[in-house]
């Protein structure tokens, strides 16, 4: 269940405003790019791009059948870091990954992988990076070894068999090496999929929802592997719907919503934008619920009317809490239960999306 957080906090507005300004900056830069590139612009670009950028994305746009899916996505991933692109279904995560990995062409924008432009120099990009898609891209009728050996041959490795054995051992698949992939469990398939992406020793690895559909244990072991790969110097760009995943793995998180990046920062940064405390009250009946709602209307609240539950956002201070209780007590509102929790990244995520929706609605009207 998604708890709606109608946040109207000051710092949210401030935050969004900073963000809008940022977008405008990019807008002007993009117009510059659109013009014929003269020396000045090229210098600009060089200055703009740091030499340690593994992935450089500016003004990425893509629409399908007139519907804009990406509306100017910008981000930079530094070499050797883990970058998480966080967003709900349909936010444009997979489209972004597909464009970044040359599987799709952008309508406009610049994408460079380790300095190579994906449009002008796809072959170099292919030698540099590798991708594991959302759905396992392996031949199910072939064995694990066969799959890996084919990959090795296509990468023109000298000893594809040796490489295959190494990877199978690393991913603890040696025992299943000579079994058809169709007999593998979901977690094993995902591991093999990841192994397939590592055959060519990529410097940049793209993972599109690497743990979607995995059980908690497989998810943890996948996280561990991603961490290990990163420790060995690989740059990793992953997309995910799970905040926990972004929090666990990423050095930098960007929240993608409806084709734009609405927030970017370290997981700690993003959490800092949150209200400090949330208190959830349960009421015995509709009357109490309605009364409580009207009493607490100067707080930001989110409600679950069917179960008579009300979440109140506070500044986290005990005094505030005492005041709320006093107000309810004085008006004889009965409370069956209450709980207090500290917000996590998920709340930040939902809040930011919510806030943006309201802003768009307002500007439409």
């Amino acid at each position: 269940m998604i708890i709606k957080l109608p946040l109207k906090g000051q710092f949210y507005y401030r935050y969004i405003h900073t963000f809008v300004r940022y977008e405008k900056e990019v807008e002007t830069k993009k117009v510059k790019k659109g013009r014929k590139m003269n020396q000045q612009d090229q210098n600009d670009k060089k200055n703009e791009q740091t030499p340690d950028a593994a992935v450089f994305v500016r003004g990425l746009e893509k629409s399908f059948c007139g519907k804009a899916v990406l509306k100017g996505v910008n981000f930079t991933v530094l070499k050797g870091t883990v970058f998480a692109l966080l967003g709900s279904n349909g936010a444009g995560k997979t489209t972004t990954v597909r464009i970044l990995t040359t599987q799709m062409q952008a309508d406009s924008g610049i994408v460079e992988i380790e300095g190579y432009d994906v449009q002008k120099n796809p072959h170099k990009v292919h030698e540099t990076m590798s991708v594991t898609g959302q759905f396992s891209a392996v031949d199910h009728l072939l064995t694990g070894t066969e799959n890996l050996v084919i990959m090795g041959r296509l990468h023109h490795l000298l000893e594809p068999k040796k490489k295959a054995m190494e990877l199978l051992a690393y991913f603890e698949l040696s025992e299943a090496a000579d079994r058809a992939v169709s007999t593998y469990s979901g977690g094993m398939k995902r591991k093999l999929d990841l192994a397939m992406s590592l055959v060519g020793n990529p410097r940049v690895l793209f993972l599109d929802e690497p743990t979607t559909g995995l059980d908690p244990q497989s998810r943890r072991s996948m996280w561990q592997m991603i961490r290990e790969l990163n420790e060995n110097g690989m740059t990793i760009v992953l997309t995910t719907q799970y905040l926990e995943e972004a929090e666990q793995l990423a050095d930098l998180v960007a929240i993608l919503d409806k084709g734009t990046i609405i927030a970017q920062g370290t997981p700690e940064n993003l959490k800092a934008y949150l209200p400090q405390g949330v208190v959830q009250f349960s009421f015995p009946d509709g009357n109490c619920f309605a009364l409580a709602k009207s009493l607490l209307k100067d707080y930001r609240v989110s409600e679950e009317a069917e179960t008579y539950k009300l979440s109140v956002f506070t500044d986290g201070r005990a005094d505030t809490l005492a005041e709320i209780f006093a107000r309810l007590y004085q008006n004889k509102v009965r409370i069956t239960d209450f709980s207090k929790h500290t917000p996590d990244l998920e709340d930040a995520f939902l809040a930011m999306i919510e806030e943006r929706e309201e802003m768009t609605d307002a500007s439409c009207n």
Binding site: Q103, A137, M151, R153, G200
Partner: protein, 256 residues
């Protein structure tokens, strides 16, 4: 130079992969080995005694038709495989490898080539057992082989086009079944003149008839009818080039 070598290596790897896949798929084995032999035996034993055409036995008469029919069946398998590859996402993976994208399709065609040649060998072996005795003149055999390669190329690239165009494996299979019907409405199984009027017109002008006639002439006539063979080869070459081009364009559109 190295690039050209790599290109061929890629095609070989892709073809090998397809061969492994079709080896694991019982369906493919059935359509490639069992069906052709069965077709030959069935047609000859069902109609062999009833029909005699131009003084040759019916077994002799239908060999070219059955060969084409079986190449068509092999192409069906390719269409389904291409479609599966596209829908399973493995093509997306191949497209992010440092290799030419065209090698993916060419690998499929190369595999179809080998599989079709095996199938043809099975048909010819069955035919030999049934008493068919072709002329084993070097020129005739050479021409037969050329015609065979030409028609395999045309059928295979057509199958690739179908595989890319179809929305599902079932669709690919159904669409390519239409192609398999073509040899029936030609001079492959009965003379064109005995067909009903509408079919007769169709049969006379569709590519299968000249190809069947050319194979027949290469096989059973003492002197090669060069104009028939030339026409058939032109058809094969034209269709191969056409479908090759169309498949390349469609593939590029599909994967980008």
């Amino acid at each position: 130079m190295q690039a050209a070598i790599n290109r061929w290596k890629e095609i070989a790897v892709m073809a090998k992969r397809c061969m492994l896949l079709s080896k694991r798929n019982p369906d493919t084995l059935l359509t490639s080995i069992m069906l052709p032999a069965l077709m030959m035996v069935l047609f000859v034993s069902l109609f062999g005694r009833l029909i005699e055409i131009d003084g040759t036995s019916y077994a002799n008469y239908i060999v070219p038709g059955v060969v084409l029919q079986c190449i068509g069946q092999c192409a069906c398998v390719t269409a389904v495989m291409v479609n599966n590859d596209l829908s399973s996402g493995i093509v997306s993976r191949f497209c992010t490898l440092p290799m030419k994208r065209s090698s993916i399709l060419n690998g499929h065609v190369a595999e179809a080539f080998i599989r079709s040649l095996v199938t043809t060998a099975v048909v010819l072996f069955a035919a030999l057992l049934l008493g068919v005795r072709p002329y084993t003149d070097a020129a005739c055999l050479g021409m037969f082989f050329l015609l065979l390669c030409g028609s395999i190329a045309a059928f295979s690239y057509a199958a690739v086009v179908i595989g890319i165009a179809a929305n599902s494996a079932e669709g690919a299979s159904a669409l390519s079944a239409l192609v398999v019907i073509l040899p029936y409405i030609s001079s492959g199984f009965v003379p064109v003149d005995t067909l009903p009027p509408v079919m007769r017109v169709f049969a006379r002008y569709q590519p299968m008839t000249p190809i069947v006639d050319a194979i027949r002439s290469a096989f059973f006539e003492k002197t090669l009818e060069l104009d028939v063979c030339g026409g058939a080869l032109a058809w094969c070459a034209g269709l191969s080039v056409l479908f090759f081009g169309v498949s390349a364009v469609m593939f590029r559109k599909k994967v980008s």
